[in-house]
């Protein structure tokens, strides 16, 4: 890059050697996050556990985008927080660039956090209303000791704003003076200010109007190309995730039920839950809507405090078989070409076994 943009290489400790592209930046191995349910006024007793994330393994390659989808309560946000160590995992291993994070704390952890940043859903509550945009961005730099005198900082801020598509005049503004889309750009600029390698974006566009969502998605994509960022995008909107992600993982009740390259997953979903999810997404085309077959799932998500035995999806699965699905927990297995599915009957369902058929 010849332009005076603040490239990662400018800061020695951040320089990712370019020959590393293609390897894993993030590796999660059997990560669990369990929250205790406590009762009692005088003596705290733990009466149960909420299994928010219950054994998730995945890897995110450098420079790529991993999309995590699932419905509310599936544990996708908790997993994102655990990855940034905003949440301490109960067990399992979290490696960032080969460094184990799960038991790290204090100064070492803070230093690691410079390399991984987060973009939040709700921009109004994640930006301090009493700080100007300039002060918000400078604060991020100071926190990591990256404020190198007013002149270079000033230049850096202007470059940041232009990278996310805001005018330089925005520096003097306060969060409430901006529209939702502009505020999300400020949130992105703040995350980028410290030159991170990984950005975790939790529902980055779901609070925005549809016409503005596209603007922000395009900004995220441009920044990835420009700075070689690695993204974990967490969203409930399957169309958004399909648009941005190279690889997609589908979560249900704290576990991954399916994972594959984005194109494959959407063309050939194999887990019954993924199939139902995809069939439920409304498509803005009446011809498609009238023709398509919907898999309506009965009931609601079971409580993560009392997850069903066996396959966690068996209580709502139209294809579930008694004696197997409610007893044996299916593991995530490769059905070919890196397409992972956690379902006992993925192949026979794909071949067209009807839900009613048994035995």
């Amino acid at each position: 890059m010849t332009e005076p943009t603040p490239s990662p290489a400018r800061r020695p400790e951040a320089a990712p050697p370019p020959e590393h592209t293609g390897d894993a930046l993030v590796e999660l191995d059997e990560v669990c996050v369990h929250y205790p349910i406590r009762r009692g006024v005088v003596f705290d007793r733990t009466v149960g556990w909420v299994y928010a994330v219950d054994g998730v393994s995945l890897r995110i390659e450098r420079g790529r985008t991993y999309g995590l989808v699932g419905e509310s309560g599936c544990g996708k946000s908790t997993l994102g927080k655990a990855l940034l160590r905003l949440e301490r995992p109960t067990s399992g291993s979290i490696r960032f660039d080969g460094i184990e994070l799960s038991d790290m704390s204090g100064r070492r952890l803070r230093r690691m956090r410079r390399r991984m940043q987060m973009v939040f859903q709700d921009t109004l509550s994640s930006l301090d209303p009493r700080q100007s945009v300039e002060s918000l961005l400078v604060e991020a730099l100071r926190a990591h000791g990256l404020d190198e005198g007013s002149e270079s900082t000033d230049r850096l801020l202007r470059e940041l704003l232009s990278a996310v598509g805001l005018p330089a005049g925005a520096l003097r503004g306060y969060p409430h003076e901006f529209s939702g889309g502009q505020r999300q750009r400020i949130g992105i600029a703040r995350a980028l200010a410290v030159r991170p390698e990984l950005v975790v974006a939790d529902e980055p566009v779901s609070a925005l109007d549809v016409s503005v969502q596209a603007q922000v998605l395009n900004v995220l994509r441009d920044l990835q190309e420009r700075f070689g960022l690695t993204y974990l995008v967490i969203a409930h909107d399957l169309a958004v995730v399909r648009h941005v992600a190279d690889r997609v993982g589908v979560m249900y009740l704290g576990v991954l039920v399916e994972e594959s390259d984005s194109d494959v997953l959407y063309e050939r979903p194999m887990h019954p839950y993924t199939r139902a999810l995809l069939s439920a997404v409304p498509v803005p085309d009446p011809e498609v809507e009238d023709r398509r077959e919907r898999i309506l799932l009965p009931g609601d998500l079971p409580s993560p405090a009392a997850p069903p035995s066996g396959c966690r999806f068996h209580t709502r699965c139209p294809w579930s078989r008694p004696g197997v699905c409610d007893v044996e927990r299916p593991s995530l297995r490769d059905v070919g070409g890196g397409h992972l599915v956690a379902c006992h009957y993925a192949e026979s369902i794909e071949r067209g076994r009807s839900p009613a058929e048994s035995g």
């Binding site: 419905e71 509310s72 529209s179 939702g180 889309g181 502009q182 109007d209 549809v210 016409s211 503005v212 969502q213 596209a214 603007q215 998605l217 395009n218 994509r221 409930h236 399957l238 169309a239 958004v240 399909r242 648009h243 984005s262 194109d263 959407y266 139902a276 999810l277 995809l278 069939s279 439920a280 997404v281 409304p282 498509v283 803005p284 085309d285 009446p286 011809e287 498609v288 809507e289 009238d290 919907r294 309506l296 799932l297 009931g299 609601d300 998500l301």
Partner: protein, 333 residues
């Protein structure tokens, strides 16, 4: 004659010391019995205020409502409070976006559902409770007898929305307004609720006004679609015609800016420039013109009028897109 006829509805919010805000600015549409009509638009376009005005739920102080809202031959605007109370819940009812704030947290569900019928249909508590049980069953709530004794916090989001729909339908209203009924719900639950609404309209012949920002929901649900922008309807058409060939640049822009499951991946999205805050007042010109890719000089000087451009198709635009091209890329400069 349509069941609901809205003509030149305007809602202005007046506050002393502040400029008057025209939230709804001359909206007209019809809803025939047994049909589903959509009001679509982004935040601030006036879709919810329109529905509140039709239901008579706007605060009386500081609000100026003008125009006409005729339900089954009766003009609603200007009715007394008592007259409104008699109609709301019996002839017309509403389902809101957030089911948690729409339900009373300290009253058991059964009482909330049955009191509608006690009040409007003159039932005794016992008869109304039995009726409530069958209503909950009808909207797909399992074990309805137990649920009648429960409170709203004990229900899941989808269940609460079903309960609200049950309450709205308790007196077999002729008009049902659903304001973003599935926006707070997960997609699999959204699919359940939408298919329930679809069945109810087909079964009971209720006229449904569906307010949403989700074009996918509109495509699957509505017979006719009104697209709102900054308080005015900019395009109105049958859903097939609208999605096949949007004529207003705003409609086309909306359709192109959403990522879709059925189009090739990896294409850059074509967003609409700017945001709703870049509007100009309708009194000056077309409110959308500062964001419009096909804007002409006239667009910021003269406000476009509504024109009929086909059977059941209305358009408010100086420079509409061609019928065969649903594309904002066609530049006109």
């Amino acid at each position: 004659m349509a069941l609901l006829e809205v003509r030149d509805l305007a809602v202005r919010f007046v506050r002393r010391g502040e400029p008057t805000v025209a939230a709804v600015d001359g909206v007209s549409f019809d809803v025939p019995a047994g049909r589903t009509v959509g009001l679509v638009g982004e935040s601030g376009c006036g879709k919810s205020v329109t529905s509140l005005a039709v239901m008579g739920l706007l605060p009386r102080d500081g609000t100026e409502v003008s125009g006409s809202v005729v339900l089954d031959g009766t003009e609603l605007l200007g009715l007394s409070r008592r007259e409104w109370d008699r109609r709301r819940g019996s002839e017309m009812s509403m389902v809101f976006q957030d089911p948690l704030t729409s339900l009373n947290p300290v009253v058991p569900l059964g009482i909330q559902v049955s009191e509608v019928m006690e009040r409007h249909r003159g039932m005794s508590r016992r008869v109304a409770t039995r009726e409530a049980e069958s209503l909950l069953d009808r909207v797909g709530i399992p074990d309805p007898r137990r649920r009648l004794r429960e409170y709203s916090h004990q229900l899941s989001g989808g269940m609460r929305q079903r309960a609200l729909i049950a309450m709205a339908l308790a007196c077999r209203p002729r008009l049902l307004i659903a304001d973003e009924p599935t926006t707070a719900l997960d997609v699999t639950i959204q699919a359940q609720i939408l298919s329930l609404l679809r069945e109810l309209v087909a079964e009971t012949g209720t006229a449904l006004v569906l307010i949403t920002h989700d074009l996918g929901v509109v495509a699957g649900m509505c017979d006719e679609v009104n697209v709102l922008y900054a308080g005015r309807i900019v395009e109105c058409a049958d859903r097939h015609a609208l999605f096949a060939a949007p004529r207003h640049p705003y409609t086309a822009g909306l359709l192109e800016s959403v990522p879709r499951l059925d189009t090739p991946r990896g294409q850059r999205l074509a967003p609409i420039a700017g945001s709703v805050e870049d509007n100009i007042p309708w009194s000056v010109g077309c409110a959308f013109s500062p964001r419009c890719a096909s804007a002409l000089p006239v667009c910021s000087e003269r406000s476009p009028a509504v024109e009929t451009v086909g059977p059941g198709r209305l358009l408010r635009c100086h420079n509409p897109l061609d019928t065969d091209v649903g594309n904002t890329e066609s530049s006109h400069d």
